[in-house]
Symmetry: C2
Subunit: 132 residues, 2 copies
Amino acid sequence: MTGDEAEIGAQLERWVRAVQRRDLAGVVADHAPEIVMFDVPPPQQGVRGLDAYQETWPPFFAWLDAGAVFELESLQVTAGVDVAVAWALLRCVRPEDFAEHPDTRLRITFGLREDAGRWLVVHEHHSYAATD
Amino acid sequence: MTGDEAEIGAQLERWVRAVQRRDLAGVVADHAPEIVMFDVPPPQQGVRGLDAYQETWPPFFAWLDAGAVFELESLQVTAGVDVAVAWALLRCVRPEDFAEHPDTRLRITFGLREDAGRWLVVHEHHSYAATD
C-alpha cells in the first residue's frame, strides 16, 4: 500500500464516522464542487454538484435515526499520482430488515482527484445488489 | 479533456460494443486479473478476479437475447497519470419493462490503472437506482 492509499483510506474512514455522527460538514469536507453521486434512490441521472450532494444527507440521517447501522466492513484503495479509486462494503441496514437479509451489504465506490496536496472526492456510487 | 481521457473513453465505448455483439473476448480484453465488480445481481461481496468476472457475462448475454438493449447514453472520464475513474449512464432494459420505467438508467462506474502503456479496468460497479 502506498502512502497515498493509506491517507485516502484514513480519509474515507473519517467520512464514515462523520456519517455515523450525522456531521454534515464532515461528510462534505473533502468533496469536489463537481461531485457526481449515483445514489441508492433516484435521480436516475445522478446527484450533481456539491449543493445537491449535501441535500441528500439529512433525509439519510433521519433514516439512520430509525435505528439503522452504517458500519464499514472492508475498504480497498488504488491510488495513482493524482487520481484514485476506492471501493467499500458496509453494513447499512435497518433492524427490521436485518433478520431477513443478514448478508446484505451496501457497496460504495469512490473516485478522487488530487488538488493542491488534498484528495477530493469527485464521484460516489452507492448501491445494493438486487435481491432474488 | 486529456489524451488519456479520450483514449479511455474510446476504450469503454469499444467495451460497450463488445457487450452488444456478445463478444466475450472483447468484453474481458482490457481487464486486470484483480478486477472487482459490484454487479446488479449478487454476490454481495462482489465478483472477484478475471475468471469470475468472465463467468458473469454469458447469463447476461442470454438476458440481452430476450430483446433488451444496452446503449451508452453518457460517459465521463477523469484520468490522472496512472489511475482513472469513469462513470456512465446506459439504457439497459427489457422491452416489457420499458413502458413502465422509461427513465430507468443503468449506472456503471469504472476504475482503471495504467499498465505498460495500456489502461486496465480494475473495478466496475453496476447498479440501478431503487424504484419507489
